[in-house]
Symmetry: C2
Subunit: 236 residues, 2 copies
DNA sequence: AATTTATGATTGGTAAACCAAATCTTCATT
DNA sequence: AATGAAGATTTGGTTTACCAATCATAAATT
């Protein structure tokens, strides 16, 4: 028995198809930023698909900030200019699925920064949250158990304390893929687990003492330990 | 006549409500990673809402990698562990809308890195694309026109050349908001426009010559000029 | 008894019907 | 002619109905 692991290209391609048709229509009709798109009904009729499919495509473009739909009023083109819109749609259509290397690279970039920012901006409540995550991780490890989840929740607590909502969001998007890969390849085996505790503690202390440079430094060392076998990932 | 600019909290709260109910159900029923969620019909019946509302909530959790729904089969819980899932759902529910400062801060972080990476990894085709964007921007400026869009397309071309799909995606998400704010506050006025051209050229040259450190340096100077009035944004 | 096949129930995806808010049109009033 | 109100229309959002792929169960065959 053969198991197909296809990503169902059809579904994605249908949506991509609709997205590019929307772009074409905007260009052909010379619609400008701020203008209203034809109604979902008209689009679905024009493109010979269901309204639902059109709605999904619109939703995706809304996620990227290119459209904005308002209830009982219409879907509007963002004020970013027609040139930027065309360029961005092109990019969106060609986007690759992120590989693991990209994820890790991005993660390190974000974490070095959020550690710094957390040291600068953390509130007392932030500190409390980080402390709890630190403790949960520590106890799991000392109990001899795997603690990948607690590990990453510690890092997410720092991201939250950075006071930067975008970075926090991006960290959340990246994290699940990181976790599953860690568990798959047993990155966090018990042998090195104890040094993890100390590294986390050092990061926490730096954030507590409002030492941004040290926080970044300790985070960097933490990652250097973690990913030392992945030598073609950009750490700095 | 007064225009209400409310963000319609109800709609968001309905979705957040459903999301937290899904989390509660997972916990109450002791569902584990990899398990199948009840069908959308059952969920919609249980939560007393339409199936579409359930589907939207699932789609959002899918975006954050916590669920994965497969056609004609079911919706499955990601293999990230129940602790991580609970923590992440909590974070997702409390996420703030990003303010402009966060966006700019994140943009600078990403761009310094993508410039470096592009210098290391750009292909000839990447270089060609960046060159075209550079030229388009230059010509618009020399023609005395505003060129905010061409400016950011140049930066997006660099992000693409970085070979990091995650960073590319995040740049795309951030860009529209940046553009609208630039145009709103007239950040790119014509006076400084000519020095922009030189700065872009310097960045391009560094990427062309495969000089990662220089590319980052030139990008940093570029931003220092741009945002010198925003002194509480973390540049490094 | 083991394996294959067939059949019916279940599922997420899609299409169609319906709703209430927003907008436009029309017409009466000043 | 300008303005305001009322009604009809249009719109995105929501609900309902339908579809084809999938899966589990059981019957049939070896």
């Amino acid at each position: 028995m053969k198991i197909e692991v296809t990503t169902k290209p059809e579904n994605f391609n249908i949506q991509k198809n609709i997205i590019s048709q929307i772009r074409d229509l905007i260009n052909f009709k010379n619609l400008e930023p701020g203008d209203k798109l034809p109604s979902e009904r008209m689009l679905s009729e024009k493109f010979k698909v269901s309204r639902n499919v059109v709605r999904d495509a619109i939703q995706k473009l809304e996620l990227y900030g290119l459209l904005k739909s308002r209830p009982q009023s219409g879907t509007f083109i963002a004020n970013i200019g027609i040139t930027a819109l065309n360029g961005m749609v092109e990019d969106i259509l060609r986007l690759d699925e992120p590989d693991f290397k990209s994820l890790v690279e991005t993660r390190i970039l974000l974490e070095l920064k959020t550690a710094r920012l957390a040291a600068l901006r953390r509130t007392e409540e932030d500190l409390d949250q980080i402390s709890k995550a630190l403790k949960a991780h520590k106890e799991k490890i000392l109990n001899g158990e795997e603690a990948v989840q607690e590990d990453l929740l510690f890092h997410l607590a720092i991201a939250k304390a950075s006071g930067n909502s975008s970075m926090n969001t991006f960290m959340l998007i990246i994290t699940p893929e990181i976790i599953t890969n860690f568990e798959k390849y047993h990155v966090c085996d018990v042998g090195q687990a104890h040094s993890r505790i100390e590294e986390h503690q050092a990061i926490f202390d730096a954030i507590k003492n409002r030492s941004p440079q040290l926080a970044k430094q300790k985070m960097k060392e933490h990652f250097r330990e973690l990913y030392k076998y992945c030598y073609n990932i950009e750490i700095n």
